[in-house]
Symmetry: C2
């Protein structure tokens, strides 16, 4: 049973979809820990309802980013976490942290990366650019922002009458399918990173091979 930690700063709709899918599809994993850097984040409420350990870690209480992250790493070790899922976590992790959990951190970004890499508002960016198709990307996290190897992408059409809200909703609908699927593939050991490319194996893959 793989223990998963979800990091979030906001509503946590992806968190909800992940919990639901793990349950429904009987995936051999458990969301064991929720970490938030925002005290009022609704994802902490969701965690409580789902009886998952939920911790607000206040960055202001730490003299440095490394000490803040060390505290988080302490919690991750307590729960024997094997996968970290960033779900609307609005804080960049340091190279120190990323190296500690190399190839074990997933993120989702509401564009077809590399489009709008690093943007805090990739949904509006796609509209402002006048794109007809945008989408969403699940990727491994490396030291650079929105840069790691891509696990899955899904396209979303932009309609004539879409505004930022309606487009964000469409993208989130796809995210609620895509993110749990990426997690399932990880849990089943089917993701193999080859340079920048992620191969998805039809059957289980043993990283020791």
């Amino acid at each position: 049973m793989l223990n998963i930690a979800v990091f979030c700063s906001g509503k946590g709709t992806n968190l909800q979809a992940i919990i639901k899918t793990i349950h429904e599809k009987d995936i051999e994993a458990k969301v064991s820990l929720i970490i938030s850097d925002k005290e009022k984040a609704y994802c902490l409420e969701r965690a409580k309802h789902a009886k998952i350990r939920a911790i607000f870690v206040n960055p202001k209480n730490f003299p440095s980013k490394q000490k803040f992250e060390n505290r988080i790493i302490g919690y991750l070790k307590e729960e024997n976490i094997g996968l970290i899922v960033l779900a609307g976590f609005m804080r960049m992790l340091s190279p120190f942290f990323v190296q500690n959990y190399s190839n074990k951190i997933l993120n989702i970004h509401p564009s077809l990366l590399p489009a709008f890499k690093g943007s805090a508002n990739a949904v509006a960016d796609a509209l402002d650019y006048g794109m007809k198709i945008t989408g969403t990307t699940v990727h491994f996290v490396d030291e650079k922002l929105d840069n790691g190897p891509i696990v899955l992408q899904r396209a979303v059409e932009i309609a004539e009458n879409d505004n930022e809200d309606s487009l964000r909703q469409k993208i989130q609908q796809q995210e609620h399918i895509l993110y749990p699927l990426a997690i399932q593939l990880f849990v089943e050991g089917r993701l193999k990173i080859e340079g920048r490319r992620v191969e998805i194996n039809p059957e289980n893959y043993n990283p020791q091979d």
Copy 2:
């Protein structure tokens, strides 16, 4: 009847698809002129087979880009051209030329722009980046490379075993549908440029409104 000029430097498979679709769908337009900057470009052969006036304009024969382009503009005027379609034309048009045919030049680029903007090998770029979805974009040409307002985009999935050739084929298949469709929308007066966005009107649109 709108007269179309197609500019090409290579095989001209998009040219072929455009001629075919205009004929099959009875679009109120005619490809009246083919311009190539390469003497041996196969698109010139295609033009001859289709009994379309085809001209090789050798850039080396002109002392400046503007004189080269002025010669082309001369041919365009002779044929009363109302739309210029770039189909694998590997030469950037000057702002002088673009302003002469403002909002009357279309280009196609084998990526979901703005991804891989300006790249001469956007198909390989998508593979090298490890994308799972790429695509193709038809856009109006402005003064900057691959930058003008987007008319249509179409997504193409990248399979595990795709290489550059197989992916290029998949993208071209979509281009042969998308480019003629964009031309049809232009011919029917259904494209309205609003800043960076291109609205596609359900019915004919009179630009004088």
